[in-house]
C-alpha cells in the first residue's frame, strides 16, 4: 500500500470510476473456452482479463509427489509479460509463488481430492491484463474451470477484495485505488456457509474497519458467485434439459 494519501479517490460518495463504495466492477464469465483443457474459463473483471485451464485428474508426476490418500492440487498463477504497465519478466516470481500456494490451498477445501488418490489436478491461470484484484479474478475463474472439467466439488468458491481508500472501507479496488489506497483485503469464501478459505491483508486497518471490510468482501464474493452460477447454467442448462 502506498503512503500517498494526496490523491483524492472519493468525491461526493462516489469513487473515481463512478462506483459507490459497495459496487463491484462489471464481471463477465465464460466457461469452456479452451479446446485442449479438460475444463476452462475466461473471466473479465473490470479491466482484468484472466483465463483458467484445468488438466486432470491424472497420475501425479514426478512419482514421489503422489499421495495414496488424495490427489495433489497443483495451482499455478501466472502473469503475462504484457499484463502490466512495465513489462513483467516471464516465469514465476516470489509474488506468484505465494499466490499459487494459498490459492491452491483454498481450492483444496472444496475439491474432493480424496476421490483421486495418487493423482494430480492441474489448474493453470494466466493473467492477460491486470487491473488490481487479479488473485481474486484468477481464483474465481479457476473455480468455474474446475466445474467445467466436471471435477467433483462440495461448492464453488468465490472471491472478492475489500480495502480502504480515503479513510473509507470499499469493495473491489481497481488499479488507481490499489496504488493510492491504504489497505487491501483479498478474500475467498464458500458462499453458502461464508467459510473463509483465502484471507490476506496488507495496509492499515483498525479492528472495526477490518470487520466492515470482511463483511463487504463476503457480500462481494456472493455477488461474484451468482455470476459464476449463471455462467455455468448458460453453458450447461441445455444439456441438463436434454436439448
Amino acid at each position: 500500500m502506498s503512503s500517498n494519501t494526496d490523491v483524492q479517490l472519493i468525491k461526493n460518495g462516489k469513487r473515481l470510476s463512478g462506483r459507490k463504495l459497495e459496487d463491484l466492477r462489471e464481471i463477465k464469465i465464460q466457461p469452456g473456452v479452451l479446446d485442449n483443457a479438460d475444463g476452462s474459463c475466461y473471466l473479465e473483471w473490470g479491466n482484468n482479463k484472466v483465463i483458467a485451464a484445468v488438466y486432470g485428474p491424472k497420475e501425479a508426476m514426478p512419482r514421489h509427489t503422489q499421495n495414496p490418500l488424495k490427489a495433489v492440487m497443483n495451482y499455478k498463477y501466472n502473469m503475462a509479460p504484457f499484463s502490466v504497465e512495465d513489462r513483467k519478466r516471464p516465469g514465476p516470481d516470489r509474488r506468484s509463488t505465494e499466490i499459487s500456494k494459498i490459492s491452491g490451498a483454498a481450492l483444496s477445501k472444496v475439491v474432493l481430492l480424496e476421490k483421486f488418490p495418487n493423482m494430480q489436478i492441474d489448474v493453470f491461470v494466466d493473467v492477460l491484463q491486470a487491473d488490481a484484484g487479479t488473485r481474486c479474478a484468477a481464483l474465481s475463474a479457476a473455480s468455474v474451470a474446475l466445474a467445467d472439467a466436471g471435477i467433483p466439488m462440495t461448492s464453488l468458491i468465490a472471491c472478492c477484495a475489500a480495502g480502504k481508500i480515503d479513510n473509507k472501507v470499499v469493495v473491489d479496488l481497481d488499479k488507481p485505488e490499489d496504488n493510492h489506497g491504504q489497505a487491501d483485503v483479498p478474500m475467498a469464501v464458500i458462499p453458502r456457509t461464508e467459510e473463509i478459505v483465502l484471507l490476506q491483508m496488507d495496509g492499515h486497518l483498525t479492528a472495526d474497519e477490518f470487520k466492515t471490510a470482511m463483511r463487504m468482501a463476503i457480500d462481494g464474493s456472493k455477488k461474484v458467485n451468482e455470476i459464476q452460477i449463471q455462467a455455468l447454467k448458460e453453458k450447461y442448462q441445455g444439456e441438463l434439459n436434454g436439448d
Binding site: H64, R94, E195, I196, L199, D202, A207, M214
Partner: protein, 263 residues
C-alpha cells in the same frame, strides 16, 4: 508420500483428540507462547543489526545488512526494504538445498509485509541522493532449528534486529562500516501472531506438529497503536468470520504483551 509425512500423520489422532478438550501436545494453554529468548547483536562483528531468537525449539537468526543502490522508479525518494528467509537442510529434515521453496518464500513475504505496512522503517529518511542513491535494508532470516511458527519468530527477531541496526557512515560514494552515522529511523514495532486451527480450536504459536497437522493457519500482525497491518491465511481448512474477529482481538492483545516484554 515421504516417511516423515507418514510419521507426522500417525500423530494426528492424538493431536486432534487432545484439541477436542482444548489441550495441546506440549501442555501449553491455547493462547500461550513458548518460551522466547533473545540474544541481541549475535552477529555484532559483520552485520549492521542482528538478533538470535529462540521460540521453544525454533531457533533462528535475523541479520540486517545495509547496502546502497538506486531507488525503485515509482518511489524515487524512499529507501528499499528487502526480506529473505533461508530455510536450509541444517535446520530440519523437512528442508532441502536449492532455490527457496514456496514455504520459504511465503514466510519471508509475510514477515516483510508486516514490517513494510506498519511503516516501521521511515523509508523517506533512507535517501542518500534522491532518484540516485538510497539505503537498501536487507533483512535475512536464517533458520537454525525448525519447530514451527517461523513467521512470528522471524518477525520478532527481524524487528529486534532493526531496532538495533546502525547505519554505516557514507562518504564520497563509499560505505565505511567501521563508523556509524546513527540508528535506523524507525516509527513502529509490528508484532506477528500465528494461530493454528486444530479440530476447531485455535492454538497460538504452533509448534511443528501443530503447524503441519493443522486444518488451517492464520497470521495476524498489528502495530503499536493496535491497528492491523498484515494478515495471511494458510492451509486447506477454513475460518468462520466470527472466528476471525475473535482472533483479531486476541492478536492485538497478545501483540501488546509481546511488545512490552521484548521490545
Amino acid at each position: 508420500m515421504e516417511t516423515s509425512e507418514v510419521l507426522l500423520a500417525l500423530q494426528k489422532p492424538r493431536l486432534y483428540e487432545l484439541a477436542a478438550a482444548g489441550a495441546r501436545i506440549d501442555g501449553r494453554k491455547p493462547d500461550e507462547y513458548r518460551q522466547i529468548t533473545i540474544d541481541e547483536n549475535f552477529i555484532a562483528f559483520t552485520a549492521e543489526g542482528s538478533c538470535r531468537l529462540r521460540m521453544g525449539n525454533t531457533d533462528l537468526i535475523a541479520g540486517v545488512k545495509l547496502t546502497t543502490g538506486t531507488p525503485f522508479p515509482d518511489t524515487p525518494e524512499e529507501g528499499v526494504l528487502m526480506t529473505g528467509a533461508e530455510l536450509p537442510p541444517l535446520a530440519s529434515s523437512e528442508f532441502s538445498f536449492g532455490p527457496p521453496s514456496p514455504f520459504a518464500i511465503e514466510t519471508a513475504r509475510v514477515i516483510d509485509r508486516g514490517i513494510r505496512e506498519s511503516k516501521m522503517l521511515d523509508v523517506k529518511k533512507l535517501v542518500i541522493e534522491p532518484k540516485e542513491s538510497v539505503w537498501i535494508v536487507n533483512i535475512d532470516i536464517q533458520a537454525l532449528n525448525y519447530d514451527g511458527n517461523l513467521i512470528d519468530a522471524g518477525q520478532l527477531a527481524a524487528v529486534k534486529a532493526l531496532l538495533s541496526t546502525k547505519i554505516p557512515k557514507y562518504e564520497d560514494g563509499k560505505i565505511i562500516r567501521e563508523e556509524s552515522s546513527g540508528n535506523l529511523p524507525t516509527q513502529d514495532k509490528p508484532i506477528s501472531t500465528t494461530f493454528a486451527q486444530v479440530n476447531k480450536h485455535n492454538f497460538l504459536d504452533p509448534k511443528f506438529e501443530e503447524e503441519r497437522l493443522a486444518d488451517a493457519l492464520l497470521t495476524i500482525q498489528s502495530t503499536e497503536k493496535g491497528a492491523l497491518c498484515a494478515m495471511q491465511k494458510q492451509g486447506t481448512g477454513s475460518f468462520m468470520p466470527k472466528e476471525v474477529e475473535g482472533l483479531v482481538e486476541e492478536s492485538i492483545k497478545k501483540g501488546k504483551e509481546i511488545r512490552k516484554k521484548f521490545l
